[in-house]
Amino acid sequence: MFKNEDDFAKLADALDVDTVSRPDHREELRRRMLSAFEEARLSRKTFRLGWPGHRRRIVEEQQARRWGAIMASRVFRYGTAAAVVAAVIVGVTFMSTSPNGSGEAWAIEQTVAALKDVKTVYQSGKTYLAGIGAAGSGRRPKQVDMPLSFELWARRGSDGSRSGDLRFEVADGTVVVVREKPACSYAYDPGEHTVRVHADTKMVTMTWFGAELFTALRAKSKDWRASYGKDEKTGRACVFVTCSQVGKADDRSRSWWWQFDTETKLPIRVKQWDNAKREGTPGMIVEKIIYGQKLKDDLFKFKIPQGAKVINVPKPTTQPK
C-alpha cells in the first residue's frame, strides 16, 4: 500500500493503462467538430437575431449573396432522410401560395429570387423516426418516444436541377451519404450495424426548384392556410403556414406547419406529420435551416464503421419515384 504522494506517484507510473484511441473516432470527431465550428461561425455572422443591426445585416447579406434555389426530393428511399427532404418540397410550395396573394412577403417572385442561387442547405432538428426504411422492402423507420436530433447537409447538383452530394445524420447513429460523382449512396443502420452501398445510384435526391416547380406543387397541396404573426422568440414578422398532401397510400400522406421569415422570405422552422391532419406528435421538426453555407468535401465522404457488415445493393432497373 502506498504511504505518501511520492509512493503513489511511482505506483501510478508503473500502471499500464491502455489509452490508445480509435482512428475512426478521431477522424469522425474531427469532422463533426469542424462542422460545428463552421455552423457556429456562420450563425454568429449571419443569423444571430436580436442583436443591434441584425435586420440591416441580413438584408446586406441577402443582397450580397443573392439567395438561390432550394431543393426537394422525389425519391423516398430512406425514411427519415426522405421525411426531411419532403418537408422542404412542400414548404417551398406553399411559399408560392400566399393567402389571397396579399402579403407582399409572399409574392412568389420574391421567394424565387430569394432562393435562386442557394447552392447548399443545412438543416437540424428533431425526429421521432429511428432507423432506415427502404421502399418496396417493407422496412420502415420506427416511431420512437424520445426525439432524436438530426442534421442534414446537401449541395445542389452539377446540372442545377437536383441535389448532388448529401449527408444525413440522426443521433441514433443512422447515417446516409449520397455522392454525386461518382454516383454512390451509403446508408448505415446502427441497429443492424450494416452499411448498404448503392453503387452508381443516388438513392436520395433533392431537386432544386424554380417557379415552375412551385406552381406544380401548389396544385397538389390541400387545405393550406397561412396566417401572419411574429416569431415568439425574436418578435420578427413571420408567416405561419399549415398544409397537407394526401397520398395514394396512407403512409404517403403528409401535413406540415411552416414558419417563414417575411423579411428574408426564407423558411426558418418546419414541423411535419406523417398523416394528413397534423394529428399526434410531429414525426419531424426542423428547427434550424442555413442556406449558402460552405460545405467541405470531407462531409460527403463515407467511412465504413469498424466491424459493420457491408451489403452491396444491386442497382434498381428503374429510378424510384
Binding site: 500500500m1 505506483l11 500502471l15 491502455d18 484511441s21 480509435r22 473516432h25 474531427r30 467538430m33 465550428f37
Partner: protein, 188 residues
C-alpha cells in the same frame, strides 16, 4: 520554443480559422481522450465525453479568452473535467463503471497475491471511482496527467493550497477504499 510559439499562434487563429482549430485538435485529442479513459475506464464512454468536449470547443472557441496553448490545454481539461464529473455524479453510472473495471480485473487476475502492494489498473480504478468526483479529479490530474498543483488550481479555479489539501484528503480516501478491494482481490 518554436513549437510553443506555433501552438500559441494556432490558438490565436483558431477563433476564426477552421484549419488552425483542426491542428489544435490533432495536438490535443490524444491527451483529452487519455484523460477521459483514466477518469471513465470504459473507452466507449470516454469517446462520448471526448466528443462532447471538442464540440463544446468548436461552439465556444470564439469566446475563449486565453492566448497561449497552455491556456487552451487547461481549458480543455476544465471542460473535460466538468463533463466527466457530470457523468460520474450519477450513482448508477459510477456503479456501471465500477462493475466494468471489476469484470476486467476478475478476468485478468483472479487471485493476485500482490494486489495490496501493487494494485493493477482495474483494481485501482475501482477504488478511484468510489471517491467523490472532486477527489477523482485531483488524483487523475496530478498522478496520471502529471500536472503540477498550480496547473490543477488553474483548471479547477481554486488556489494551489486548496489543491494540496484536497489531494491529501483524496489519497487518504483512496487508501481507505483500496484496502478492502485489495484484500478481496488477494483472496482475503
Amino acid at each position: 520554443m518554436g513549437r510553443v510559439e506555433d501552438g500559441d499562434d494556432l490558438v490565436a487563429r483558431a477563433r476564426d480559422d477552421a484549419d488552425a482549430l483542426g491542428r489544435l485538435y490533432e495536438r490535443h485529442y490524444d491527451r483529452v481522450f487519455a484523460y477521459c479513459v483514466r477518469r471513465l475506464f470504459v473507452k466507449a464512454v470516454a469517446e462520448d465525453v471526448t466528443s462532447t468536449v471538442f464540440l463544446h470547443v468548436a461552439r465556444h472557441i470564439c469566446d475563449f479568452a486565453g492566448s497561449r496553448e497552455q491556456d487552451f490545454r487547461n481549458w480543455l481539461y476544465t471542460i473535460a473535467t466538468n463533463e466527466v464529473n457530470a457523468y460520474v455524479r450519477t450513482t448508477k453510472r459510477r456503479a456501471q463503471l465500477f462493475e466494468a473495471a471489476g469484470r476486467l480485473r476478475v478476468a485478468s487476475q483472479p487471485d493476485s497475491p500482490t494486489a495490496l502492494d501493487r494494485p493493477d489498473w482495474p483494481l485501482l480504478y475501482q477504488a478511484i471511482v468510489r471517491l467523490r468526483p472532486k477527489h477523482q479529479t485531483v488524483i487523475v490530474l496530478r498522478f496520471f496527467e502529471g500536472l503540477a498543483n498550480d496547473e490543477i488550481a488553474g483548471i479547477l479555479g481554486c488556489r494551489p493550497a486548496t489543491v494540496r489539501v484536497t489531494l491529501k484528503r483524496a489519497l487518504d480516501a483512496l487508501r481507505r477504499q483500496l484496502l478492502p478491494l485489495a484484500a478481496e482481490a488477494s483472496g482475503g
